[in-house]
């Protein structure tokens, strides 16, 4: 049985925003809904109209899927724990007098810009109602924050000769965040 044009265009809207497995599941449900209306005696086009109306606005479905996106959840958790890790590093860098470390100005600026960019990506993933945008921003944010943590740990290990317990705590906090970001990426990448 040929798929009515209305159902095809409805699924095309969903396919533009959602991963293929999700669209396949929705297509199965929409086809069953259409068949149900056909069994009730409606003409194919009328049955398609009723099925699409029953399914609801595609944007609402996309927004609901965006809310359950694993990348969105990961971004929200990283934004919550971010200030804690940031506070650890602030205390560690201040007490270690990091201002006097031989780190070139461009590297300091680049680190700051990277941090702001990562926060922006995570915020976009946490707030967006668009599934693909949330997924891509979330994955990029997870990779970005893990990379930044790795750079901070490596930089401090090679630069900080005193290595206070506060610095060790900050490095451990970053290590835990790297592990969390990696763990979060698994479900985010499998969707």
């Amino acid at each position: 049985m040929a798929e009515p044009r209305l159902i095809g265009s409805y699924l095309a809207v969903l396919a533009a925003e959602l991963p293929a497995p999700i669209v396949e599941e929705l297509a199965d449900g929409l086809t069953e809904t259409h068949r149900s209306y056909l069994r009730q005696g409606l003409a194919p086009d009328a049955a398609a109209e009723s099925a699409v109306a029953e399914f609801g606005e595609p944007q609402a479905i996309v927004a609901e899927f965006a809310r359950v996106n694993p990348a969105r959840h990961a971004a929200r958790r990283l934004l919550v724990i971010g200030p804690v890790v940031g506070a650890c590093w602030t205390v560690a860098l201040v007490t270690s007098r990091a201002g006097s470390w031989p780190v070139p100005l461009p590297a300091r600026i680049l680190t700051g810009v990277a941090l702001i960019t990562i926060i922006g990506l995570l915020a976009a993933a946490a707030l967006s109602t668009r599934y693909r945008l949330a997924a891509r921003a979330g994955v990029a944010g997870c990779i970005g924050i893990a990379t930044l943590d790795a750079v901070l740990i490596t930089g401090a290990a090679f630069t900080d000769a005193s290595m206070t317990w506060v610095m060790v705590a900050a490095m451990m906090a970053s290590t835990a965040r790297i592990a969390f970001a990696a763990w979060s990426l698994v479900p985010a990448l499998s969707r």
């Binding site: 497995p21 396949e24 599941e25 449900g29 929409l30 069953e32 479900p187």
Partner: protein, 112 residues
């Protein structure tokens, strides 16, 4: 009954719809319709993200099969889902009995 009125209860209703055995998304919707006498007025497309949310929470598990040339995702309750359903059902029965008693002005607990 509209979607807004179901907020907070939809998850338990979906779990209950899966209590009888594995079902795919459309069958879950049909099950809910039948068990409520067709009184639910939900945009049925939003059931699917709710099923994904329950799956992520470990309350249901999904698996793919091929039916009539189409891929179909079927869901079943996990042990955690069965426990969650029991808990939510008990909480709801207690809640609804309490509110009913208050609205109808009868003493609580009501005599059997």
């Amino acid at each position: 009954m509209r979607a807004e009125e179901l907020k907070g209860h939809l998850d338990a209703m979906l779990l209950a719809a899966l209590e009888g055995g594995p079902r795919h998304g459309y069958a879950v919707i049909e099950g809910l319709r039948q068990s409520t006498g067709g009184r639910l007025d939900l945009p049925t497309g939003t059931i699917y993200p709710a099923l994904r949310r329950l799956e992520q929470a470990g309350l249901i598990t999904g698996s793919w099969s091929v039916v009539g040339g189409r891929r179909r995702r079927e869901y079943r309750l996990t042990a955690a889902g069965t426990r969650a359903l029991s808990g939510r059902r008990a909480a709801w029965l207690d809640f609804s009995a309490t509110v009913s008693a208050a609205l109808e002005g009868r003493p609580w607990p009501s005599p059997a």
